[in-house]
């Protein structure tokens, strides 16, 4: 009950935040814009929807990661957690509530962007079942990438004492490290990327989140 209360609280907070408005409206708009520019430049790319999806999910992940890390640092510095911890709230509830709230918002944003592009594609050249499956697979891979990125944001938030440092680390380090997970199956033949990447991604996310909880539990508030 307590966890759900915190989760819906965080979700409500993030939904109303400016970053989420950018993600939910800005990302689909950006996707449509990039698609329009591709067409204007007459670029032949059979995976145009997937390529654009990759670009926007990368931007979205970076924004979400920065938002997570900076909000945690700010809340730590303002002793926000004290008022919760004198009540029956476990420390890891905060981290998981934040993670799932932001991750859900991000997944919805990417879904809206993909949907917008698919609709345009359908009107433009038509969408086959194979195209649809391909897009779905790429979304599954990107979701794993976004999960790693969000957990990295929490990692920097928990670890770093300064908001600026947390933001910089999330942008430059978090996003790059998350990309390694995403790109790994391209270099090493583990099997089908749609299966392997999510397995690796969610495993890494779980490990990072456990590490985050361990560090957070040792903090003195």
């Amino acid at each position: 009950m307590t966890f759900l209360l915190l989760f819906f609280d965080e979700l409500r907070g993030y939904i109303k935040s400016k970053v989420m408005i950018i993600l939910w409206f800005g990302m689909p708009a950006l996707a449509i814009l990039i698609r329009f520019l591709y067409q204007q430049a007459d670029v032949e790319d059979p995976l145009i929807t997937i390529s654009i999806g990759l670009i926007i999910s990368s931007i979205g992940s970076t924004l979400s990661s920065v938002m997570l890390s900076t909000s945690i640092v700010s809340e730590k510095n303002h002793n926000v957690y004290e008022l919760f911890l004198v009540r029956p709230v476990k420390r890891w509830y905060f981290l998981l509530a934040k993670f799932f709230a932001v991750y859900l918002c991000l997944v919805i944003a990417v879904f809206i962007s993909y949907l917008a592009m698919l609709i345009l594609e359908a009107f433009d050249v038509g969408v086959t079942v194979d195209d649809f499956i391909e897009v779905l697979e790429s979304m599954l891979i990107l979701m794993a990438f976004m999960a790693v990125s969000c957990s990295m944001g929490i990692f920097f938030g928990v670890l770093v004492p300064s908001v600026a440092a947390a933001a910089i680390l999330s942008v430059y380090l978090g996003n790059q490290l998350s990309s390694i997970i995403f790109l790994l199956p391209l270099f090493i033949d583990f099997g089908k990327p749609v299966v392997v990447t999510p397995i690796i991604g969610y495993s890494v996310t779980t490990i990072i989140m456990l590490l985050n909880i361990f560090i957070f539990n040792r903090k003195q508030f």
């Binding site: 209360l5 609280d9 907070g13 809340e75 002793n79 008022l83 004198v86 009540r87 508030f221």
Partner: protein, 315 residues
């Protein structure tokens, strides 16, 4: 364990790496007491409070609330309301959202929560900002909001860490009034403060903490009467009459200060028999036909008592 005790600390110590924040402190707060906890910055007040509310689990010694050790007290949050020092709220929340969350986490039922929020906001005169975002509130309003969240679940014990610091005089006066009315309703209150006059106004028991050690515990009167060094007598005579100038000839009198043409302050030596000295002074004044209008023993202020204990380190 005392029958009427509400909070008990026995030989509590806490270290942060090399720093000994609390050094074997013990005290008991009885039910219905208003315990004013004073000491300079870094004395260990907040550490004591955080141990008491369960925020610091690793310490030496025993801490009991209503006879139950806080380390094993699962429902501690239900009977204790905690007002932290300098704690922020998530600023995207409105006052109502923050209180709803804290109320639910404190175990207030959904059906009762609306009324409780209304009651605490009315009590602190914050009804008008119920649906305002916290980031738009003033410092005084946020301090009141801290008090609101501590009161939501109607706890029997209130632990207030510096509830009056950083406030302008009118808000301080208002919050002092709120604390007094809470005490009248039977709540046991522990509050820390730097502002000695506020402690003197509100508390019926005062604990002085310095460098992690309890130096003195007692009522304001006890603290002042124990403090002999500053005993003074204020003598006022009728206007246009002469003050008696030879009081310094009395052995127990250290010095005489003329505060006005008809008022003098007689400083007495320490370790004297106050009764016989007073009699001696009065006799001398009457023999010399002084027209006495006021003769009173001036007790040292709490500030002087405090400074004498902590060696002049105010704050």
């Amino acid at each position: 364990m005392s029958q009427n005790s509400c909070i008990e600390l026995h030989n509590v110590s806490k270290s942060y790496k090399d720093l000994l924040a609390l050094n074997n402190i013990s005290f008991i707060i009885e039910k219905g007491d208003i315990f004013g906890y004073i000491g300079p910055n870094g004395a260990g007040k907040t550490t004591t409070i955080k141990i008491l509310v369960g925020l610091i689990p690793n310490y030496k010694g025993e801490v009991y609330v209503n006879g139950i050790s806080v380390s094993n007290f699962k429902d501690l949050h239900k009977i204790v309301g905690y007002h932290p020092q300098e704690v922020g709220f998530q600023e995207w929340r409105t006052v109502n959202q923050a209180l709803t969350t804290f109320g639910r986490l404190s175990g207030v039922s959904k059906g009762n929560l609306e009324n409780r929020i209304y009651d605490v906001l009315k009590f602190t005169e914050l009804e008008d900002v119920r649906y305002k975002k916290i980031k738009h509130l003033s410092g005084g309003m946020i301090q009141k909001l801290r008090l609101c969240q501590a009161l939501l679940h109607e706890p029997e014990i209130l632990v207030l860490d510096e509830p009056l610091s950083g406030l302008d005089p009118s808000i301080r006066y208002q919050i002092k009034g709120l604390i007094k009315s809470l005490a009248k309703s039977g709540k046991t209150i522990l509050f820390s403060s730097h502002i000695l006059s506020d402690v003197q106004d509100i508390a019926n028991v005062i604990g002085i903490l310095h460098k992690g050690k309890i130096l003195k515990i007692g009522s304001p009167d006890e603290l002042q009467s124990d403090f002999r060094i500053g005993n003074m007598i204020r003598i006022e005579v009728a206007k246009n009459t002469l003050l008696y100038q030879d009081l310094e000839n009395i052995a127990e009198v250290e010095k005489v200060e003329n505060l006005a043409s008809n008022i003098q302050l007689v400083h007495l030596s320490s370790d004297i028999n106050l009764n016989s000295t007073v009699n001696q002074i009065l006799k001398l004044l009457l023999e010399n036909d002084c027209k006495i209008r006021n003769f009173s023993i001036v007790k040292p202020s709490l500030e002087e008592v405090y400074l004498s204990y902590v060696g002049g380190e105010l704050k």
